[in-house]
Structures are given as C-alpha cells and as structure tokens.
C-alpha cells in the first residue's frame, strides 16, 4: 500500500514521462493538468495507462475526469487503493 506521498511522486513521474518537457517543480497541484501542461486526450490516456501499469489500479473511462488535477489524481488513486485493499481483506 503506497502512501499519499508515494502516489504523488508516482503521478508526477508518469506525467513527466509522457510529457518530458514538463518541469515537475512547476506543476500546480490544484490546476487542471490538461490546461496548465497543454496535455491533450492522447497524453492523458497515456498517463492513465501508465498509472495502471505501475499500480495495477483499473481506471474506467468514465472516471477519467476525476483525475484532472494532481491533487484529484492522488486522492482518486489513494481511495481506489484503499477500496482494493478493503475488498481483498
């Protein structure tokens, strides 16, 4: 189970992998990733696919809007992880 801090580092690292010209220090955690980083739907899809590959968390298409900012994404993943852990117990 990853801490919120781990998840935050993971999301930042995935964003920078998909968008290598992004300066991680410049990401505003409460602003939409798409607007501030010029991320389009293809970049965004690549981000969720990579998050899934690294964490195993399944993100249905209808939930994509729930990951639109860095803080939202961390919150979503943290809840999803807790849910998986809970159902497995």
């Amino acid at each position: 189970m990853s801490t919120e801090q781990d998840l935050r580092a993971l999301v930042i690292s995935v964003v920078c992998q998909v968008a290598p010209d992004v300066d991680p220090a410049a990401i505003d955690p409460d602003a939409g990733l798409a607007e501030q980083l010029d991320i389009d739907s293809m970049d965004f899809l690549n981000i969720v696919v990579e998050i899934n590959a690294r964490t195993g968390i399944e993100i249905p298409e209808r939930d994509y809007p729930k990951l639109s900012t860095l803080n939202d994404a961390v919150g979503y993943l943290s809840r999803a992880q807790a849910l998986v852990a809970g159902s497995g117990a």
Binding site: C16, Q17, V18, A19, P20, D21, V22, D23, A34, L37, D38, I39, D40, S41, M42, D43, L45, N46, V48, V49, N52, A53, E58, I59, E61
Partner: protein
Amino acid sequence: MSDFVMPSLGADMEAGTVLDWYVKPGDTVKRGDIVALVDTSKAEIEVEIFQGGVIDELRVPVGERVPVGTVLATLHPVGDEVPVPVRVGAPAAAMPAPAAPAIAVTALPAAPPAPAPIQVVAAGTNHRLRVSPLARRVAAQLGIDLSQVSGSGPNGAITKADVERARPAGQPPAPARRPGSPPPAREPGDRQAAMREAIGALMARSKREIPHYYLQLEIDMGRALDWLRDANLQRPMNERLLPSVLLLSAVARAAAEMPEMNGFWTDGAFRSGDGVHLGVAISLRGGGLIAPALHDADQKSLEEIMAGVRDLVQRARSGRLRSSEMSDPTLTVTNLGERGVDLVHGVIYPPQVALVGFGAVRERPWAIDGMLGIRPVVVATLAADHRASDGHAGGRFLTLIERRLQKPEDP
C-alpha cells in the same frame, strides 16, 4: 558517388542544424536508415537517408546550421570500388568542434589509417541516444557528454534527472557552457520565436497563393460514440481508442475515394498523393504546432491508427520525429475540439490542397425522422484549394466523411 543533402522537412523549412551524426565514414547504410539528428526551427527531426551505400565523408560538422540542399555527406554505392579513404574508422567525435572556424569535415586532419576491410555496420539503433529536449539543453548548459549518461526514461531515454545525476560532484548547478562542447539545442524562447516565424511565413504564403474555399457540415456522432464506449468497455486500458481515431479513419478512407483532396499543388499543377498520408496536427506545449504524417492511414485499422497517433504524439513531444513524417503528408487534419471551439476554418499547409478540421463534440438538439432529440454533434470543416477542386467535390468529401462516421463498426 552520391550526395546526401539537408532535406526540406516541410515547406516552412529553409535551414537546419546538424545536432548529431548517427553514422561515420565507412558505415554502410540502407534506404530508410536514420543517419542524423537535425534541428529545424520547429523540432528535432531524425533524418532518414533515401539511398543505400557506404558513407564516404561527413561534410557538415555537428552544430553547424546550413541551408536546405547543402551536401551533408557523400556516399558510395554498395559494392563500388571504394578508394580506401584515410578517414574510414575515424570516430565521429574527431570532427572539429563547432566553435572552430567552419571547417568542413573534409579538412579533418588525417586520422590514423584504419585496417583495410571497411567496417560494414548498418546504422544501428544502439548508436542512437534518446534524449528529451529538456535533458539536451541541461546537458549543454552543464557541459555533460550525453554519450556518458545512462538513461532511465522510456526506451532508455535520457531525462533531465539523468543528466543532473551525471553532473560531477562539486560542480555548480549551471556553469557556463564548456568551451568546445556541442552547442545546445535552441533555448526554448529562441525555438518558440523561430517556430512562430516559420509558421507565419508558411501560412502567409498559403493565404497569398492558395485560393481557399470553406465548407462545413454538422455530423451526428451518436452512433460512433456509443459504439466506441461499448468497444472500450471490452478493452484493457492500454487498448482503448480515442474518438479522434474514428475521425481520422473516416477522413483517410474518404480521401482514398477523393484523390483531388489528397495531394499537392506544385509547379502550377495538381499531383495526387501516392497513398493517403494524413498530417496529424499536434500542438506543442509552449506554443506552435507540427503535423507529421500518419502513413497509409486509409489502410490502417482503428487499432493501428490509435497506435500510430500515440507514437507520433509521443515523438512530437519528445522531439523524435522522422524526416519522412515531415515531408510526406498529403492531407492535414486538425482537431481543435479539445480546446472547446465549435469549428475551425483551416489554413491549408502548402503544397497540400486541403485541410479537414473538427471542433468539439457537443450535445445539440437534432431532428431525425421528424423527431427532435439530443445528439452529440461535431462540426467538420473543409478548407480546400480552388485550383485543385471546387465546392461540389468538397461537399462530396465531407458527406463521405459523415457517412463513414455513421458506420463505426465498419470503418
């Protein structure tokens, strides 16, 4: 003996800077091999060679900016009697530093003669460094030799973090560039200004020379999006398709039926494209755009289009497009829907003769069979060159695109 020249990587390119050579004298290359990395004002492009042979001389050193058409390298046909050049085997690193007066590589002091049999090495991908543009800039600032840095990014790409890790301990964060180190890729500000200028010049030429006509058609996307949602439910995350894939597929297949929309206007005449190579407009972070070719898009399945676009976007962002992708597009598609606009009146990318634009998919009141309903609707627009076609043909083209989008299961 033949020449390999600085290619024109799009009608807006006048000159390019060699950032890296991936071959050295004596290397055998075949058609399509990537031999150099070139910085145009818009992007860093991997340049393919269109002729096989054995590299004889590299005439333009790394760091030098030369006009389109300048001889970059000379090569012998394979199997030719090759005079044993003293340069064979000389490491590419022996090329004069760009800071030196512009000495052509020809003037290179004779390297020790290499053992006779010419090394036959295809330009291997292992020789190529994958470097993000940010990492390249930082490395240039820090004076770090990228060939000594190991990459931790996708496919071993070197990232900014890798470069910073490679900085010798005790070195201050951003010293002045080491004298003699390769010049950095352009600074972001320079590149943006240069790209703005290149786009401006090309679009001014388009508006000056091309008699544009414009058409638009509202298309019901209900069936296509329902089909896509159901299809994506069955797919693992990494195989899901984006709606834009359906749009590209529809345009490509319609273009295959309408050759007058797919090709070039050059020297006062229309020449249709050899295949449908869709230019996919990709906006670059920080401004500017680039429209590399998705080759033979009309022959590709939706999955192949998705994979192709994903690859193009990724490489456009990380600065690794190939020369053929820059020069081949026969028809450009721009999708500005993501930015929320309703429609786009495109400016044709010369020497192409048409551009298809899409706005945002929005729910709108829509009458079908005498009933009013709410449907997701997209406005498709066509900007076309009146020298190559007229509104009648353009209208048919948009209608064909619409028809394709009503049968998403049979793209």
